[in-house]
Amino acid sequence: MTGSTHWVEHMLFKGGGKLAKGDIDRLISRIGGKFNGFTDKDWTMYYETVPAEHLETALFVEAERMRNAAFEPKEFDAERTVVISEREGSENQPEFLVEEELWGTAFHVHPYHWLPIGYKQDLEGMSRDSVYEWYRRWYAPNNALLILVGGFDPESAMGRIRTSFGPLAPERIPHGPRATEPIQSGERVSEIHKPGEVDYLEVGWKIPDWRHVDIAKLVILVGVLGGWRGFSLFASGGWTPRANRLYRGLVETKLASDARAGFELRLDPSLLSVSATLTRGVKHAELEKKLDAIVRKLKESPPSATEMGRARELVRAWNRYEVDGVTLQGFHIGQLEALGSRESFPQFLETVESVTPEDVREAAATYLVDSGRTTIRYHSEGAA
């Protein structure tokens, strides 16, 4: 059932074991902390940021809910409307519908086919027992990463961690073969027609998983194409890079009111995507023609030295900015550890630094190809 993992995340705020319903909220709020959880395509993350002297409270919460969440049937049923409401709120945004269609069209077999929130019909039929079983199967200390960042003494913190998590039993984690997406052999196109006033376009190209040697080249390619905005999910904020080919080709020319390029570091082969909001009166075909020309140029000739320097500098800059504060550092380290190891990240950044203009051209020629492309056109039809 799609959406199980995300539903588990919701239930982990509802008590169990030594935590009564509402306790997490009360315990963390009372010390001025902030807390939340996020379900990603590859991992689920929970966090608390608390004053340093209250580390123990955060460890208690995480250890307790790792194995002892209650999943009370009444609470589970009450949460159904909340999860569906979250999905319906997203459905109100055309960008969400485009994103869901992009991944659903680009991936037929791999679980990247659906977004973490899941499909509404699955959410409507989800049973407590199936979600609870999912939780018990995957939530165990031997399948978890614990990241601590901030003002603590490592030795004493390790003592507390052992006390909190040591008693938790490991689980036999299923390590079967991961689903492999069959090779795509032609462009896929999907059209969405909805009432509204603004049109959107998103194009995705298949790219390899994050361990692949070409990922470093794709980082610089994205920097040249749309401006680099960091690896982490939450660091970039609303900043709009302008010194890049998409901005100049699509926004300065008034074909789009915004345009961006990017990809997420993923455990399995994923997508590099370009998205744009069309200026009123502009047809998708006009925008795509220009985008095709931008992509063709990237494939035909290497970027200039100035473009390369700028892309490298943006990567360096975001590597500083996206670890500002303990929360973002925790997110960043957690993401890297979930993918493999943060130990290898400096080496990865060195590889990014060494990418040549010809590497970028080659990466564009290899990955920005029609056989691996998925195009989603969102057509707004008639003002509501």
Binding site: R26, R310, E313, D324
Partner: protein, 420 residues
């Protein structure tokens, strides 16, 4: 121990505040001029936002491309935004690139050119954004609520973007006139946090900012007159979810009741997963994914509001639950335990909410804007500890009044109307 920031007054007007963080490899900055929506004269609706979007489109000393190449080639960011009272500029830069970043920021503020091509680009961008907002149930409900809470034409009730009509009719001459009148150094406030010290501020930041033209700031917005509560219903039949927005005018930031009301608001609809409101509407009744309250205390007034995203079938249930929570402010006063939890949250949250350079820079800016004093962060715990149950409860009852709230519902409502 919370360190005390430093402050410098610029010759000819303007103030700079800074708080070093020696561990940080970069500096975040947060600046403003008194050139927000409140500075717009009648007939200038939307001009402040339009101009702020053009500031990176070229100056007398550099084209748009040169500006973006210089900033991004050095890994610096710079953004301009328009708020009710202020034009805000903020960004991040290394110390090595700071001369360029602040030089460009000052140049954009002092010497903008208004290229016709860029005017048309921004016009298209704004029109698209206005249409996009109209399609968003939440944006639509919140904007419509503000228009009902404040008197017609008051800057706090207007969408900074203006309307399709105003955006369509804005001319370059009007933008230049607004710039000439409002982009003046008297109201300039710039705060910095991170890799910063006095020498850096003097040699790099102040030097750049002193090129901004001297002169007096526009007057602050007039305090809004009271407005009778009203209701509005926006049918967007193709949407999945409806958004409810409920609210009324509130107090300015420098009002003596601010801290009491802020704590009452925290307990009502902010703390944890959104206070009493979230506990009832989301946790207990499962009616919404989000349901929270917000207090926005500005220079000349403010507003308090609730926003909730709700399945259209359950709108009546959600409104009933919200209405009950509003009644409970009087019927079930905040307990001593709630008040203590709120106080502890605000005191503990001081460190937690100032963990990033940008958050520190934003806090310093607010301190200067509202005249809170350089020792504000150090005093804040004592201010909060001094908030008593009676005064917090009193503020809640005085300023969160259901009978004075306006209501807007936007979404697939099928022609229905609602009441609190």
């Amino acid at each position: 121990m919370i360190p005390r920031p430093d402050r410098m007054e610029l010759k000819g007007g303007g103030r700079v505040l800074w708080l070093p963080n020696p561990a940080s490899p970069f500096v975040s900055f947060h600046g403003s001029l008194s050139a927000g929506v409140a500075a717009e004269a009648p007939g200038e609706e939307g001009v402040a936002e339009f101009l702020s979007r053009l500031l990176l489109s070229g100056t007398k000393h550099g084209t748009a491309r040169r500006l973006s190449q210089s900033l991004e080639g050095r890994g610096a960011t710079l953004e301009f935004h328009t708020a009710e009272d202020l034009l805000i500029f903020r960004g991040r830069t290394t110390r090595a690139a700071a001369g360029t970043a602040f030089g460009i920021a000052a140049d954009c503020l002092s010497n903008p050119v208004i290229p016709a091509k860029e005017v048309e680009r921004v016009r298209g961008e704004l029109l698209t954004d206005i249409r996009r907002d109209r399609e968003s149930t939440r944006e639509h409900a919140e904007k419509e609520l503000l228009a009902r809470v404040f008197p017609s034409g008051h800057p706090y009730g207007r969408d900074p973007k203006g309307t399709e009509e105003s955006v369509t009719s804005i001319e370059p001459r009007g933008l230049l006139e607004f710039h000439e009148r409002c982009y003046r150094r008297e109201g300039l406030i710039v705060s910095l946090a991170g890799d910063v010290d006095e020498g850096f501020v003097t040699s790099t930041v102040a030097k750049a900012l002193e090129s901004i033209p001297e002169g007096a700031s526009p007057d602050a917005a007039p305090p809004p007159t009271p407005e009778r509560p009203s209701a509005g219903f926006v049918d967007l039949p193709h949407k999945s979810q409806a958004d409810i927005a409920i609210g009324l005018q509130s107090i300015p930031r420098n009002h003596p009741d601010y801290y009491d009301l802020n704590l009452a608001n925290l307990l009502f609809g902010v703390i944890g997963m959104y206070g009493r409101l979230g506990a009832s509407v989301r946790e207990e009744k499962g009616l919404a994914y989000y349901s929270f309250a917000r207090l926005r205390a500005l220079r000349s007034g403010g507003h308090w509001s609730i926003v909730a995203g709700v399945n259209p079938v359950r709108l009546e249930d959600a409104l009933r639950a919200i209405s009950e929570e509003l009644d409970r402010i009087r019927e079930r006063p905040f307990t001593e335990e709630e008040i203590e939890t709120g106080r502890l949250n605000q005191i503990g949250g001081l460190a937690v909410n100032l963990e990033r350079n940008a958050e520190v820079a934003g806090a310093l800016h607010g301190m200067e804007l509202h005249g809170l004093g350089l020792d504000f962060l150090a005093r804040y715990p004592e201010i909060v500890k001094g908030l008593g149950r009676e005064s917090v409860q009193g503020a809640g009852e005085r300023y969160i009044r259901k009978q004075d709230c306006s209501l807007v519902v936007a979404g697939p409502i099928g022609g229905r109307t609602f009441a609190l």
